[in-house]
């Protein structure tokens, strides 16, 4: 059994990001395979390395990055949604002249097209959507 996850909201603002993370972690802990986690709409904001959450709170971006490293999770940020919201990798930052060092995508996340979401729906046995 393979699952794909769609995350439609940003960290902190909506619990959707937390729920998706807890669900993904619980699935992996049970040995259920996660084909891909796809970030769309404001969900792309889960993938910014620039967050500085309060000391006494969770770090949602880091939680994702750590989970990705531990389980070789595929975390994909939608490029169109990311451009609208100012999430860029190095190639994008360069291409749009945003200056050296401007890329803000976090470790473990990659930026790609919406086709990756469709593929996630096709290849996984179930798709679960977390949103607002």
């Amino acid at each position: 059994m393979k699952l794909s996850i769609l995350v439609n909201e940003g960290p902190y603002t909506h619990q959707a990001a937390d729920s998706a993370y807890q669900f993904t972690k619980a699935a992996l802990d049970k040995g259920v395979e996660i084909f891909r986690v796809f970030f769309y709409h404001d969900g792309v904001n889960n993938g910014t390395r620039l967050t500085v959450p309060p000391q006494d709170d969770r770090n949602i971006q880091k939680n994702w990055s750590d989970l990705a490293e531990k389980h070789k999770l595929d975390l994909v940020v939608c490029i169109a949604a990311a451009q609208r919201r100012g999430i860029l990798d190095e190639g994008e930052a360069k291409r749009h002249g945003k200056g050296e060092g401007a890329a803000n995508i976090a470790p473990g996340f990659r930026i790609s097209g919406l086709g990756q979401l469709i593929e996630a729906g096709i290849e996984a046995d179930r798709l679960v959507v977390f949103g607002d």
Partner: protein, 102 residues
């Protein structure tokens, strides 16, 4: 195959739960989580609707979300089963599809 419906909205604020109840078919399951857990409160308009459908439709609620909101013990309407995230995963894998009511 039957469907797992998941509802994360308060029934007092939004129409998502009402719409979900209107589209869930016999044999389906409905999981209340995030602000959707307020739908599990007893003694409300929505609780009546849930108990009317309970049996034909199975109702679940996510424990961690209940606890966070202070609804941990004795506040939940009859016929609703409490699960954790692991149980949430099981519900997803044992139903044919998951439909989110956002």
């Amino acid at each position: 195959m039957t469907t797992l419906h998941i509802v994360n909205k308060s029934p007092f604020e939004k129409n998502a739960m009402e719409s979900c109840l209107g589209h869930a078919l016999d044999g389906d399951a409905i999981l209340l989580f995030e602000d959707g857990v307020y739908g599990a409160l007893s003694n409300t308009r929505i609780a009546n609707e849930i108990s009317r459908r309970a049996g034909a439709v199975k109702f679940f609620v996510l424990g961690p979300d209940l606890n966070a909101r202070g609804l941990g013990d004795g506040r939940i309407a009859d016929g609703i089963t409490v699960v954790d995230y692991s149980g949430f995963v099981d519900l997803v894998t044992t139903h044919g599809r998951t439909q989110s009511w956002l």
